[in-house]
C-alpha cells in the first residue's frame, strides 16, 4: 500500500513538474468548452428565407407573417422573380426559398386547396431537415386554421382533424449546445484517459526507466494501480472543471445526480485507462502509440453517437457500440444531465462499462511484463 501511494505521488510530482502538461490539463477543458461547444452547434435559428410571392393576397401575407412570427426564420428577401430567388440559394445568400404561386389565395378559399413549393439548401442534411420540419409545422398549423375558417364560412363538408401540438422534452428550446456539451466532455475525458496514461507508460519505456523499475519488487497490480489512479483523478477533475465552465458560459442544465455522473465517469475512466495501459504495452515508442490511439479515439467518439444518434446507425455499428466504452458514457452523460435519469435508469450501462473495464484491465495486466 505504501508503495502504491509513493508511486502515485511520484506520478503527480512528474506531471506537475512538467509545466506544459500541468497547464494543458487545465487549459484544454477551457479551450474545448469555449471554442468547440458554440462551434459544433448546428444553428437552427435564423434560417434565412427568401420568399417568391406571386400572389400578394391576404392569404399569402397571412402565411408569410406566420413564418416571420416564428423564431426560426428570418425573412431575408422578397421578390417576384423566381430566378433571382434560385440564384440566392445557389450563391448561399439564403437557406430556403418559399414559392407561393399566383392565385394561391383564390384557390385556397374557392377550391379548398393549392400547392406551394419549398426549396431548401441541403448541403448540411441535418440543418436542412430541421428547417424543413419547422416550415412544415407552420404550414400544417396554417392548413388547420384554413379548414376551421372554411367550416365557419359554411362549407357543407364535414371536417374533422387531429390537432397535433408538440413539445420537445428534456431540451424544450432545442438548444443544440445542451446536446453537444456533454459530448465534448466525453471527448475530453476520453482523451485524457487514453493519451496521458498511455504516453506516460511508453515514455518510461523510451527513457529506459522501466528497466530499472522492473528489477524492483514492485508487483504488476501495484504498477497498474499507480499508473491508473493519477489519471483517474485528473480525468474527474477535468470533468468537474468542464461542467463548471458549461454552467458559467452556457448555463447548461444539470437535471440528474452529480454523484451518479461522477460514479459512472470513474468507471468509464477505469475502462479507458485499462485500454490505454494495454495499448502502451504493445508499443515501444510514443510515436507508435499516438498513431494507434488517434484512430481508436476517432472511431470511439464518432461511433459513440456524438453527432448522429447511435440508434440510427446501421446494425453492425450498434453492435460495435456494445464494446465501445465511449458509447456508454455518451448515453449516460446525456441521460443524467438532460433527462435527470437515476441510478436504476443507467444500471444496464453501469453493468456494461464494468464488464468492459474488467476486460481492458485484465488485458493490461496480462500483457504487462516485468521482463524485457
Amino acid at each position: 500500500m505504501r508503495t502504491i501511494l509513493y508511486l502515485i505521488r511520484k506520478e503527480f510530482i512528474q506531471i506537475f513538474r512538467n509545466t506544459f502538461l500541468a497547464r494543458a490539463i487545465f487549459g484544454i477543458p477551457i479551450v474545448q468548452m469555449v471554442i468547440l461547444v458554440p462551434a459544433v452547434t448546428f444553428e437552427i435559428r435564423n434560417i434565412e428565407l427568401c420568399v417568391v410571392d406571386k400572389d400578394m393576397s391576404t392569404e399569402s401575407r397571412q402565411l408569410i407573417s406566420r413564418i416571420q412570427g416564428s423564431e426560426f426564420f428570418l425573412l431575408k428577401h422578397t421578390t417576384f422573380n423566381e430566378k433571382e430567388a434560385d440564384d440566392m440559394l445557389h450563391s448561399d445568400k439564403c437557406d430556403m426559398v418559399l414559392h407561393i404561386p399566383e392565385n394561391f389565395g383564390r384557390n385556397v378559399t374557392r377550391e379548398g386547396n393549392d400547392k406551394i413549393m419549398v426549396a431548401v439548401n441541403a448541403i448540411n442534411a441535418t440543418s436542412a431537415q430541421l428547417a424543413w420540419a419547422y416550415m412544415r409545422g407552420i404550414l400544417q398549423d396554417y392548413n388547420a386554421e384554413l379548414m376551421v375558417q372554411n367550416l365557419q364560412t359554411g362549407t357543407p363538408a364535414r371536417m374533422s382533424f387531429i390537432e397535433t401540438t408538440n413539445r420537445f422534452w428534456y431540451n424544450p428550446s432545442l438548444n443544440y449546445k445542451y446536446y453537444m456539451l456533454p459530448g465534448i466532455l466525453v471527448i475530453l475525458v476520453t482523451a485524457i484517459g487514453l493519451l496521458l496514461a498511455g504516453l506516460n507508460v511508453v515514455r518510461e519505456k523510451e527513457m529506459g526507466t522501466i528497466e530499472q523499475l522492473n528489477v524492483t519488487p514492485i508487483r504488476k497490480y501495484q504498477f497498474i494501480t499507480a499508473k491508473l489512479i493519477p489519471f483517474l483523478i485528473i480525468g474527474l477533475i477535468d470533468l468537474a472543471f468542464g461542467l463548471l465552465i458549461g454552467k458559467i458560459l452556457f448555463n447548461i442544465p444539470f437535471n440528474g445526480s452529480i454523484a451518479l455522473l461522477f460514479l459512472f465517469a470513474a468507471l468509464y475512466l477505469v475502462a479507458v485507462l485499462g485500454l490505454a495501459l494495454f495499448l502502451s504495452t504493445l508499443s515501444s515508442t510514443q510515436q507508435q502509440y499516438l498513431f494507434v490511439v488517434f484512430f481508436i479515439l476517432m472511431i470511439f467518439i464518432l461511433m459513440s453517437g456524438i453527432f448522429t444518434p447511435a440508434e440510427s446507425m446501421p446494425l453492425w455499428a450498434q453492435q460495435f457500440n456494445i464494446i465501445n466504452p465511449a458509447a456508454y458514457f455518451m448515453r449516460v452523460i446525456r441521460m443524467v444531465m438532460l433527462k435527470g435519469s437515476g441510478f436504476s435508469d443507467v444500471l444496464p450501462d453501469i453493468r456494461g462499462i464494468i464488464l468492459i473495464g474488467i476486460g481492458t484491465i485484465s488485458l493490461a495486466i496480462w500483457r504487462y511484463r516485468k521482463t524485457v
Binding site: 511520484k10 529506459g208 528497466e211 522492473n214 528489477v215 519488487p217 516485468k370 521482463t371
Partner: protein, 304 residues
C-alpha cells in the same frame, strides 16, 4: 554467488549468448570484458531476472532466476547501461523513490551510500537529468545500493564518463567490495579490467577465458614488441605482409606485433627500412590485457 550453467539466449537468428558457464564467488569484483554486442547486457539481464534464458540454468545466491525472481529482485541492485533514473525527479526524489519501492528508507541504509552520496549531495535538489555524466553514474549507483543488496550488477557504468570520475568510481566499487557486496561489472575499457578480481573475456556470446587479469596476461606466453614509425598505416600493411610476423595490432602510437613461433626476426628492422620507413623503433614490451584479448579473439575467429 552466481552460477551460470550453459546459458544460451537467441534473439531471432542472432545468438546473444552461446553456452555461457561461469561461477562468481561471494564478495568478488568480477568483470565481464568484451566488445559491443558481445552479449554482456543479455547476460546481465538474465542475472537480474529480466530475461529468461533459452537453455541452461542460472542460480543467484542459491536461487533459480526463473522461479525465485521475486526474492532475487529484493536482493539485487541493477544499474542498466543507459541512465534509467527519472530525469525530471531531483537527486533526492530519485533516491527516496527507489528506497520506498524496495520497502526501506534512505536513512536506514545511508551508511552504505554515504561516501558516494556525499559527492552529489550538494546537488540534491537538482533534476537528475541535469547532472553531469559522472554524477549521474554516482546517483545511479546510490539508487542501486539503497536497499542494501548482496549483489550489484553494473552494465558499463563508466562509459561516457571522464577519466577522473572513472577512477573515483572504481575506488567506490573497491570500497563496496570490502563491505561484502558482490559486484558484477562490465566495461569496454581494458585499463579497468585489471582492477577486477577476475575477468571473463566474452565475444559473440562465448566466453574466451576466465581468470585473474594477471594470470590471463601471464598466460599470453609470447614475447610482444612495439613497433613505431613515421607512416603508421604503411607500417601495418608491411608488417602484415611479412611472413615472420604472426599478429599485428595497432595500439595507440605504435603497432604491437608477435612473431611466428615466438622467434624474434632480427632482420625485421632492416626489411622495414628498405621499404622506406623512417624513425623506426622496435622494443620488447609487457603484453597488456588488451593484447591478450585481441589475441584470443583472433584465435577464436580462426577456430570457426
Amino acid at each position: 554467488m552466481i552460477t551460470s550453467d550453459n546459458i544460451s539466449k537467441k534473439f531471432g537468428s542472432i545468438t546473444a549468448l552461446d553456452g555461457v558457464t561461469l561461477n562468481i564467488g561471494k564478495s568478488e569484483l568480477f568483470g565481464l570484458i568484451g566488445p559491443d554486442g558481445a552479449g554482456k547486457t543479455t547476460f546481465f539481464r538474465i542475472v537480474t531476472t529480466l530475461l529468461l534464458p533459452d537453455t541452461g540454468t542460472m542460480t543467484v545466491m542459491g536461487h533459480d532466476t526463473i522461479n525465485d525472481y521475486l526474492l532475487l529482485r529484493r536482493n539485487i541492485g541493477y544499474m542498466p547501461g543507459r541512465f534509467s533514473l527519472y530525469q525530471d525527479l531531483s537527486v533526492e526524489e530519485n533516491l527516496n523513490f527507489y528506497a520506498t519501492v524496495f520497502g526501506t528508507t534512505v536513512k536506514q541504509n545511508y551508511h552504505l551510500i554515504k561516501n558516494i552520496y556525499s559527492h552529489i549531495e550538494p546537488f540534491r535538489k537538482r533534476p537528475a537529468g541535469k547532472l553531469s555524466g559522472g554524477m549521474k553514474q554516482k546517483l545511479a549507483l546510490c539508487c542501486a545500493l539503497i536497499h542494501a543488496p548482496d549483489l550489484i550488477v553494473l552494465d558499463e557504468p563508466t562509459t561516457g564518463v571522464d577519466a577522473v570520475s572513472r577512477a573515483e568510481f572504481w575506488e567506490m566499487l573497491k570500497a563496496l567490495q570490502k563491505e561484502g557486496i558482490t559486484i558484477l561489472v562490465s566495461t569496454p575499457y581494458m585499463d579497468e579490467a585489471i582492477l577486477c578480481d577476475r575477468v571473463a573475456l566474452i565475444q559473440k556470446g562465448r566466453i574466451l577465458d576466465i581468470d585473474k587479469p594477471a594470470t590471463i596476461i601471464a598466460g599470453f606466453g609470447k614475447k610482444m614488441y612495439a613497433v613505431s614509425g613515421k607512416d603508421k598505416y604503411k607500417l601495418i600493411q608491411d608488417l602484415r605482409c611479412d611472413p615472420s610476423v604472426e599478429s599485428v595490432n595497432p595500439f595507440g602510437d605504435s603497432v604491437h606485433i608477435t612473431f611466428t613461433g615466438d622467434r624474434f626476426d632480427s632482420t625485421i628492422a632492416g626489411k622495414l627500412e628498405k621499404a622506406g620507413h623512417q624513425d623506426l623503433r622496435i622494443k620488447e614490451i609487457e603484453p597488456g590485457i588488451e593484447d591478450v584479448f585481441l589475441e584470443l579473439m583472433t584465435v577464436s575467429e580462426n577456430d570457426k
